[in-house]
């Protein structure tokens, strides 16, 4: 397999012409998430953050985490046992974050957003992050925010062929073996072609991580080895007023968890978690007339995750499938979605966007009682009204029918954007968000000696009320000097949240119930400026999350605050073809009150940490760039944690694993057009 890939890499790399990958992108970035039609960041009624291809290239990212982990309000946590990571945004965990791939929600089997680590960064054109609910358009799960991953689409000029090739090697701490074994290895080849009407593209990536023993002993690995094959192909047709395209993304991931060898028998139990994901999408954009536009996306996703358990004899090298009935598990989900919207420009001042959104999900396995399905049918309408030229008002409402649970009757939102002066924009928003109960929460079934958990088919949706306010100033001096300052405030109130509790019918059984409340609030202040070849930004944030014990103990604070600071600097030497960049984030101490066995409250804290990445890009030939850098320069590994909850099976105490440590990156990028 590896050899085949290298042959393809060589074939394509010698046949094509060069393009300068260090070129800048336009400053007036265009965003699509939640918009009626693609428009500039400045015109958007939402406060949108974007990570563009240039930033992704500059950081030599192999996972989306590599570009998001110095963003304000975004955290990643690791589950070392399963080898997965989860995201949190503004104090809310991953199940409240909607992950979209070109507008299509990605399936995740569990509450954590494993899908984020299964995205091929080589195919990403741009990442758009919108904080706060976008539930009118995108439905469930978009409480904390939406991350929309926009893929590269075809060529730019007619009758051109482009090829990109990347070979990247990265150490894991001081451990490294070339191309295989310890370290991160990412190789990609991608082509795109633009004809007169037709266009097409595709790519394949191998992204592997060799695992690291870390604090484990023997055969076991603290950081699990991972092998990903990521493929995509697309074909589109654009003529006159119609643009249609089909895209397939394939993920094949295997995480290995080698077990300890039993000295008595020589046998070790090894586990492999094999994830397959096929995401088909079909998009239609049709400008029917000057006043009417139609957009739709239909998608089908086929997701499966298998736990394969094998018995390995370390003495003889024999390997057997484990016959233990509980040791082989397969969960499979499919998701079929259709979202269609019309945009009707009623007048210069009023636009309407009616739409429908259909989601049909089926799943089996993963400790669910049997194969289950859930259908969600929604209609929504938004209006954009400009009563005066400096004011944009966008009300919206979504109506839902769900086949399983009583969906919330109406999901409203209201966004207002006012241009206070030529340089000053004010945005205010109220939105209701909701999270539908997951299939797992409705139909879970798990009994053993220490668990008695059943799902609850009578669950209702979690919902939130979200308020935000932001003020941005944009100043542009004659000599390409651009400065943007944004002050943002947010307040989110969550109710009816689903938590595991004791069944009202039988005190011996746990089930999911709508019980918890939660709040998050915070403020961010960011400033970025561009001057000649310098790009820089600095931001500070304070994020408060609800102290769940404050309800029963009024003497405790209601909110627990964490400060954050980030900054990034990039400087370009155009003649030398060099770009230097650095990224820094300080994440303050995060504290949480916990209830102790002797009936008192203990303030547990995870220590503060500083994260630094530095990168250098150098053009070494007309179509060839070299990138070298250091990720996690300060070698953050395990964060101290004073939680006393260290004894139980699901305890939250002990050091928090953040990273395997400082890593060194070398990458070669061909970009030919």
């Amino acid at each position: 397999m590896k050899r085949t890939l290298i042959v393809i890499l060589l074939l394509v790399s010698f046949t094509l012409r060069a393009q300068d990958s260090l070129q800048t992108f336009a400053l007036e970035e265009v965003v699509v998430t939640g918009q009626f039609e693609p428009q500039s960041l400045r015109q958007s009624v939402y406060q949108v953050r974007t990570i563009n291809a240039e930033m992704i290239d500059a950081r030599s990212a192999t996972t989306i985490r590599d570009v998001l982990n110095t963003e304000l309000g975004i955290h990643f946590s690791n589950d070392l046992v399963l080898g997965t990571s989860d995201i949190s945004i503004m104090g809310m965990s991953g199940q409240n974050v909607k992950i979209l791939l070109d507008g299509v929600p990605l399936v995740d089997r569990d509450a954590t957003r494993e899908s984020l680590s299964q995205i091929d960064m080589n195919m990403v054109e741009r990442v758009e992050i919108v904080e706060g609910p976008l539930s009118v358009v995108y439905g469930s799960d978009a409480l904390a925010g939406v991350i929309n991953i926009i893929t590269r689409k075809g060529g730019r000029k007619e009758n051109t062929l482009g090829v990109r090739v990347r070979i990247q090697e990265e150490s894991a701490g001081t451990a490294y073996k070339p191309f295989h074994g310890e370290g991160t290895h990412n190789e990609n080849v991608a082509v795109d072609w633009q004809g007169s009407y037709w266009y097409a593209g595709g790519g394949i990536t191998r992204n592997t991580f060799g695992g690291l023993r870390g604090h484990s002993v023997g055969r076991q690995r603290e950081w699990l080895p991972k092998e990903q094959w990521l493929g995509n192909g697309m074909v589109g047709f654009a003529r006159n007023r119609v643009n249609v395209w089909y895209r397939l993304n394939i993920v094949d991931e295997s995480l290995s968890s080698p077990g300890a060898a039993n000295a008595n028998t020589g046998f070790a139990t090894d586990q492999e978690y094999i994830t397959r994901r096929f995401t088909h999408q079909f998009h239609t954009d049709w400008d029917i007339s000057d006043r009417w536009t139609f957009n739709s996306v239909a998608s089908f996703q086929d997701y499966s995750r298998r736990t394969m358990t094998t018995l390995f004899n370390v003495n003889s090298g024999e390997r057997f499938l484990s016959p233990d009935p509980g040791s082989q598990d397969r969960s499979a989900f499919t998701s079929t979605t259709f979202r269609g919207t019309f945009l009707h420009r009623v007048s210069d001042n009023v636009s309407l966007q009616p739409g429908i959104d259909i989601n049909w999900n089926e799943g089996a396995g993963d400790r669910m009682d049997k194969r289950r399905s859930i259908g969600d049918y929604a209609a929504f309408i938004s209006a954009e009204i400009k009563p005066v030229h400096f004011l944009t008002i966008r009300p919206g409402v979504r109506m839902i029918y769900n086949t399983v649970y009583d969906a919330p009757p109406l999901i409203p939102s209201l966004n207002v954007k006012a241009r206070l002066s030529p340089v000053l924009d004010l945005r205010a928003a109220y939105a209701r968000g909701f999270r539908a109960p997951a299939l797992r929460e409705l139909y879970f079934y798990f009994f053993d000696s220490s668990h008695s958990i059943v799902g609850n088919p009578n669950l209702e949706a979690e919902y939130s009320d979200s308020f935000s306010l932001s003020l941005s100033s944009h100043t542009k001096a004659p000599d390409t000097f651009l400065e943007t300052t944004t002050l943002g405030l947010f307040y989110n109130r969550f109710d009816n949240m689903i938590a595991l509790g004791v069944s009202p019918d039988n005190s011996g059984i746990n089930t999911y119930i709508n019980v918890a409340k939660y709040k998050t609030t915070g403020a961010t202040l960011t400033q970025s400026f561009t001057h000649n070849q310098l790009n820089a930004s600095v931001g500070i944030a304070a994020i408060g999350v609800y102290n769940e014990l404050s309800g029963e103990a009024p003497s405790l604070p209601e909110l627990m605050w964490t400060p954050e600071v980030n900054t990034s600097v990039a400087y370009r030497f155009p003649k030398a073809g060099t770009k230097l960049s650095g990224y820094y984030k300080f994440t303050g101490k995060r504290s949480v009150y916990e209830y102790t066995e002797d009936d008192s409250y203990h303030l547990a804290s995870r220590e503060a940490f500083h994260w630094v990445d530095i990168m250098a890009q150098q053009r070494i030939a007309r179509y060839l760039d070299l990138t070298v850098g250091v990720r996690n320069l300060l070698n953050v590994t395990r964060l101290q944690n004073t939680s006393m909850d260290t004894n139980g099976a699901h305890s939250t105490g002990g050091p928090v694993p953040m990273s395997f440590g400082r890593s060194f990156v070398v990458a070669l990028n061909f970009q030919l057009n």
């Binding site: 046992v81 192909g233 394939i250 008595n264 028998t265 046998f267 016959p323």
Partner: protein, 470 residues
């Protein structure tokens, strides 16, 4: 132009092919052999017994019935004259069938009435054929002696699984007699009360079902209803409950929930029992049982009823002399649970036990506990495999420095790790010594018990060898 298209098309086709081909190579290793073995290579039919049961175990359940052919060779005895088998043998061949969905099959050797033997007679059974998919495994022969034996050692797979339950909540308690190579699995919820056969008048509640009990300050059973208790008091496990609602976790009979049964009836109070628990909850309140136990000459009388009933049932239990306890079920009356007190050394079972910091212990249900038969006089010692001491090398000479403990919990939960999950497995840094009431000393080690050590939960594998004959 056309060439460009075909080039792009070829590449995309190649990419799609690669994408799909990686998703099809699920190279799955084969299952291990489903090997059929005798549970031990020697067995005894002592003078006290009229029959012996011999068990063949497959590694895992079979989907459809599997016929197994055994040859039998006799030494000093003749089929039909001195013994028969169930099922019956045909000449020197015995065919037994493993039923569908089962992993074991047993047959019996029955001594004919009024047959007296020297004790050096024997029958040898050998597995000569087994239907697919079962293959003949390591211990394919067993010698049954017409006398009690003192085993030289064996490897036993304890059958903890009663039905289709998960291994961590295995439904059987398995009683093991090392010297006879015998295991006796008993459904662990098959009993409610154990009446002590020794001098004291003590009654235990079922440790292996997670039962809990609380005293009601009344002596008339018919006057007790659910209103007399707070059902939450009976909740134990997963962080809840107190040690005074269960019997002493170490089996000390001076510290049972139910007080010593007094000669004076008016001192014997009513107790309310939650029969199955241990997971931080109890069943419906109306299923709780109220009991009152009185003395009856040199035995016991038990009065019992569902908590809100006004009528109650009564049963008399006389003390026996062959077992530690007489066992009683509210549904079945007297039931057989433990083997005779000199016919077992330890029991492997799920059980109510305890956890927490010293001084702050709380009840907790444990899987895979091992309790020594301390009432029957069995003793145990833990030996750390350090400083050159090994299980294999341990012999009679090494016994000099060993102190045997008389308690029940010497092995307890200390032989295995269940969490964190990545460290689960038997502890290979230690083994145990078991000294039975007859003075035989065995070394014992736990080979596997959990997927984390390559074993199967609910089917622990033990290995033992005679160190010193008593």
């Amino acid at each position: 132009m056309n060439r460009t298209i075909s080039r792009a098309g070829t590449l995309i086709a190649a990419i799609c092919f690669l994408g799909f081909s990686v998703s099809c190579d699920d190279d799955e290793p084969p299952l291990p052999d489903n090997a059929l073995t005798f549970s031990a290579s020697s067995a005894g039919l002592g003078d006290d017994d009229n029959e012996a049961e011999i068990t063949l175990n497959a590694s895992r359940p079979v989907a459809s019935p599997v016929a197994v052919t055994l040859s039998l060779t006799t030494e000093g005895v003749a089929y039909g004259e001195h013994f028969t088998t169930v099922p019956a043998a045909q000449g020197s061949t015995l065919v037994v069938t493993i039923p569908a969905n089962a992993s074991s099959v047993s047959f019996k050797v029955v001594r004919e009435a009024d047959v007296f033997l020297e004790g050096d007679e024997s029958i040898t059974f050998v597995i000569v054929d087994a239907d697919d998919p079962v293959v003949i495994g390591g211990t394919a022969q067993v010698v049954l002696s017409f006398s009690s034996i003192v085993s030289e050692g064996a490897e036993l797979t304890l059958n903890g699984i009663l039905g289709a339950e998960s291994g961590a909540s295995a439904g059987n308690s398995v009683f093991v007699d090392l010297s006879e190579n015998v295991q006796v699995p008993v459904a662990r919820t098959s009993w409610d009360l154990g009446f002590y056969n020794g001098d004291d008048f003590r009654v235990i509640i079922n440790y292996a079902s997670g039962a809990t009990a609380v005293m009601v300050d009344k002596t008339d059973l018919s006057q007790v209803t659910a209103a007399d208790i707070d059902p939450d008091v009976l909740v134990a496990g997963l962080g809840q409950g107190t040690l005074d609602i269960i019997d002493d976790p170490h089996g000390d009979l001076d510290n049972t929930v139910i007080a010593a049964v007094s000669e004076t009836d008016s001192e014997n109070k009513v107790y309310v029992i939650n029969r199955v628990g241990g997971h931080g909850g109890i069943g419906p309140v109306e299923d709780l049982v109220k009991v009152r136990i009185l003395r009856n000459d040199d035995g016991y009388t038990v009065q019992y009823a569902a908590i809100n009933e006004s009528e109650f049932a009564t049963a008399d239990i006389s003390k026996g002399d062959t077992h530690n306890f007489e066992f009683f079920s509210f549904e079945e009356g007297k039931v057989s649970v433990e083997p005779a007190h000199d016919k077992w050394d330890f029991v492997w079972t799920w059980s109510m036990y305890f956890t927490g910091a010293p001084g702050n212990y709380i009840p907790y249900g444990f899987s895979d506990l091992v309790f020594v038969n301390h009432h029957g006089g069995t003793q145990a010692a833990e030996v750390m495999a350090t400083g050159g001491v090994t299980y294999d090398g341990f012999g009679e000479d090494n016994l000099a420095g060993v102190t045997f403990e008389e308690g029940r919990s010497t092995i307890g939960s200390g032989w295995r790790v269940t969490s964190p999950a990545d460290q689960a497995g038997v502890k290979t840094d230690r083994f145990y010594l078991i000294k039975d009431a007859a003075g035989n000393v065995y070394k014992l080690r736990f080979v596997s018990f959990h997927p984390g050590d390559g074993g199967t939960r609910g089917k622990p594998v033990i290995e033992y060898a005679l160190v010193k004959k008593g």
